[in-house]
Amino acid sequence: MTEATHFDRAEATEEIRRIVLSYPEASDTGDLPGVGRFMDGVRLGHFGLSDEEMPIGSADAAAEMYGRSVVFYPDGLSYAKHLITNVDIAFTDGGHSARAHSTYVVLQARPELPLQPICTGRYDDTLSRTDGPWRLVARRECMDLKGELGFHVSEPSHLEVTPDASFAPVDRDTGPEEDEFGRSFDRALATEQIRRIILTYPERVDRGDFAAVGVFLDGVAFGGAVGRNAERVPDDQMRSMTAAEIESLYRAAVLTHDNGLPHTKHLITNIDVRFSDDGRSATTRSYYTVLQGWSDFPLQVIISGRYDDEFEAVDAGWRLVSRREYTDLVGDLSKHVSADTLGELSADHPA
């Protein structure tokens, strides 16, 4: 570690997560220049290849190749959603290099294709930092399970499961000793507290505890929109409600079965936490994917979308100030929400 270099493990983790999560943001919105920028100067290849065996991508060629091989629909979207999970970041080389392992699950929904996972696999990314920000150096990919890819890529027969591939071994040293936390705030603790707030909602709603959901969203400015290309909900359209109002709204809208449970599971992935410079406020983005199933309804993905949240630091930790919920992909919601709510969702949704 050179003397001028300051290593903040929490901040480095956050930056690297953001790079890994930027690929879904670009690809799922049909942002081909964004895909190109992601791959620009990056060695790309499958698991098991050495650096020398992997060509270095260029922005233009990567964008062109992606545009040609991935199916984009008339509104410019792929209607695919890349969930990024199992993210493991290991620092090496005194905090100048890192390896990020992650799992991807691609969901898709089309009028002819009920919402479902269409493939899943892993990324093995190498990143480095010299003086400036972290940079992706190499991405190795491996597809583990293949589903119905016919609505996502133009030549599905060209895509095969990567044979028996495991991660190239990583020499996971413990990384450098961190600078003392003499700064304005503890980034690692703040990240933990904010993640916990985001993860509270699934805990409550999946238990059918709508009173607790009311408490969670009490006084939070809330807005919703449908579609991956939806504009950000403007501040003047955000509404806040009391805990009691939210509870009764949920009781009316969410279906529960036999034992009072909605039989759902809200998966939260792709969590990106960004702090203001003074560490007093934060914005986050995350993806939600809801599973549902029981004896009469095969276990399946019923909806997937995003939360854009704003937080502020308070004495006891952090407070959720606003939540924007965007619905991206819709499956069979008939067992999850009342007919009225279903009508509102499908009226807005192009699929």
């Binding site: 493939c119 399970l145 998966l267």
Partner: protein, 168 residues
């Protein structure tokens, strides 16, 4: 170096996440020897349903590496040695005691599986509730409580006798 007062929260978070994430990596590769090493000496239990009460620690047995290996005798591994599953881990929440010597975590698991004649689908989803201690050099998984919340078609993942047991 890990003593009270110099507890490095970011690094501990990273190490605990790595333990949690090493299980899917091993099991999806069919590396049961690796799984048995990971879970050797860990106290483990199973329960079903999202409202299942927490199993008291005193009721949770400790498993040896051999016993862990036996647990997987009911899982189907195909000709290539793989179970053709993918364990997706989400909603990871880790919290620490004030002295940084103990930690607990909750996370969700979702298992995907697919074959040519079995569309890629979710076959089960549930939770892990884990307890960790720091032994002076590294974090160790001490207790794993597994809760199955939503169950799908497990017919390609576990052998018929296990399936029959699960459906009761």
């Amino acid at each position: 170096m890990h003593v009270a007062g110099t507890f490095n929260r970011a690094q501990s978070t990273e190490e605990i996440r790595r333990i949690i994430l090493s299980y899917p990596d091993l099991v999806d590769r069919g590396d049961i020897a690796g799984v048995s090493r990971l879970l050797d000496g860990v106290r483990m239990c199973n329960a079903n349903g999202i409202l299942a009460p927490e199993v008291p620690e005193s009721e949770i047995p400790t498993f040896t590496a051999d016993e862990v290996r036996n647990m997987y005798s009911g899982v189907i591994f195909y000709e290539d040695g793989l179970p053709h599953t993918k364990h997706v881990i989400t909603n990871i929440d880790i919290w620490f005691t004030d002295d940084g010597q103990k930690a607990a975590s909750r996370c969700f698991y979702t298992v995907l599986q697919g074959f040519d004649d079995f569309p890629l689908q979710v076959i089960i989803a549930g939770r892990y509730e884990d307890a960790f201690t720091h032994d002076g050099t590294a974090w160790r998984l001490r207790i794993r409580r597994e809760y199955a919340d939503l169950v799908g078609d497990l017919s390609r993942h576990v052998k018929p006798e296990v399936l029959a047991m699960l459906s009761h």
